[in-house]
């Protein structure tokens, strides 16, 4: 009898406690502007608490964003960037416009890795260490050394090392555009490009007058301007200072002329998995 009474008593107290929390939740007004939207915004977020936005978790991000809606257009959840529908809902909830185009960034490696080895390197297995020894063990002083400093910096397993070519390979689906890898590369081979890029330029060798790229590697840019001439849609702009092509993805129709005409196959389609325009 006493047992049943005790159980009932605790159940009753628990019920009252729950009711109290509910009443406070409903009744206490939001004095801080925007805080009432926290739950609404939190529901739109992926809930994985990955921390890529720079806050302690999805709920912490929702708190900060609902207090300061302008924050959403400076730094948003990288997981949402591909999802236009959710971004639209987030815009309505916050009352600001989110420029996804400027935030959707992917890391791109400017090397295809066909430069041959000058010597066998058996020192510390780190690109930073290897690059200090005579500028690296590749013939091209700008080449990817493939020892994986960027891979170790990546928190999302988006970078792997291709053992045959000896270069880093970036998985554009997993890449969140956090740019942690950019400063790790001693060769400065990784930079952030728009996630909607269509053609990628995979060479970092731009000093045309010293030695043409062909002598350094089979896939190096020879600065021949063939891609610039081949493009019928003005989507390629020739950067005269660096003697490299630059791409305007808004004008690009993905006709493939520039990729086909490139004699050293420096140009490639940007990762098809991420670009909605890719064929």
């Amino acid at each position: 009898m006493q047992l049943v009474a005790a159980i009932l008593l605790v159940a009753l107290i628990g019920l009252l406690c729950g009711l109290a929390i509910y009443i406070v939740y409903i009744r206490v007004p939001h004095k801080v502007p925007g805080l009432g939207k926290i739950d609404e915004i939190n529901k739109l977020l992926p809930g994985m608490n990955c921390g890529a936005c720079g806050y302690a978790g999805c709920f912490a991000f929702a708190q900060e964003v609902s207090r300061n809606p302008q924050l959403a257009s400076q730094a948003t959840c990288p997981m949402l960037l591909g999802n236009d529908e959710v971004i639209k809902q987030l815009e309505i909830a916050l009352g600001v416009s989110i420029d996804t185009e400027s935030m959707n960034k992917k890391a791109m490696l400017h090397c295809k890795g066909s430069s041959e080895n000058l010597f066998d390197y058996s020192g510390v297995q780190s690109c930073k260490a290897a690059s200090l020894l005579a500028g690296g063990f590749k013939r091209c002083p700008y080449a990817c050394l493939g020892l994986g400093d960027c891979m170790r910096a990546c928190k999302y397993d988006a970078i792997s090392i291709d053992g045959d070519k000896g270069i880093a390979v970036i998985d554009y689906v997993k890449c969140t555009g956090c740019a942690l890898c950019v400063r790790e590369c001693p060769q400065n081979l990784i930079n952030m490009v728009s996630g909607r890029s269509k053609v990628s330029y995979r060479c970092n060798y731009s000093e045309i007058r010293v030695i043409p790229g062909r002598e350094r590697c089979n896939n190096g840019c020879t600065h021949c301007r063939k891609c610039f001439v081949a493009c019928k849609y003005d989507a390629i702009i020739w950067n005269k200072e660096k003697a490299v092509p630059e791409f305007d993805s808004a004008k690009c129709t993905l006709c493939g002329e520039c990729v086909a005409v490139c004699p050293t196959r420096t140009l490639e389609y940007f990762q098809p998995a991420i670009s909605p325009y890719a064929v």
């Binding site: 009474a5 107290i13 406690c17 805080l35 302690a56």
Partner: protein, 191 residues
């Protein structure tokens, strides 16, 4: 009045929760690395202890005692304290966001802190009246905050000193805790 002062000093120094009763040891080592964190944790614990004592006293004396259900006090206290912390967090978040960010994660963390439960159980065991309960909670909180702040100050200083490699970090923190405990044992018999 002198009775209340005795209870306050007794809970803060003589029966210090951390160093004499060995309650709340997880935050004692977990949150004592930085002085600022230790101070906000100490403040949060004091606040929760005070409110928990204020809420559990009427429950003990007007609900549990008439029903002769004092044996249920531990379970009831846990329920009530958890609810209280939730309500308090909601309230602070919605009314004063600056204070909410100052407390940070610590307010939610101490929901199930044994030191908070400990002070309510001590109040019930010693059969304090309402004012005495509040004094004992404030004393316990002040003692907890004091020890946490002393410990974090020492640990911050030790971080920059030249220690043998095997002693760096936790080992020297344990030794410090032992010496602090020894020092606090000097208070026994003061009242």
């Amino acid at each position: 009045m002198s009775n209340i002062l005795t209870i306050f000093i007794g809970m803060a120094l003589i029966n210090n929760f951390v160093l004499v009763k060995f309650l709340g040891l997880c935050p004692f080592f977990g949150v004592s690395k930085k002085l600022s964190n230790a101070a906000s944790m100490g403040l949060a614990v004091t606040l929760v202890m005070f409110l928990a004592s204020a809420v559990t006293w009427p429950i003990t004396h007007y609900i549990l005692a008439p029903l002769e259900a004092e044996f249920m006090s531990t379970v009831t206290y846990i329920l009530v304290i958890a609810t209280l912390v939730q309500i308090m967090e909601l309230f602070i978040m919605r009314t004063n966001y600056g204070l909410y960010s100052a407390f940070g994660i610590y307010l939610a963390l101490i929901t199930t802190n044994c030191a908070v439960l400990g002070v309510t159980l001590v109040n019930a065991r010693e059969s304090f009246n309402f004012i005495e309960s509040l004094a004992s909670a404030l004393g316990a909180g002040a003692g907890f905050a004091l020890v946490l702040i002393i410990m974090s100050g020492i640990r911050e200083r030790l971080d920059t000193s030249n220690l043998p490699k095997s002693m760096k970090g936790l080992p020297v923190a344990f030794l410090t805790a032992a010496l602090l405990g020894l020092a606090f044992s000097g208070f026994s018999g003061m009242v």
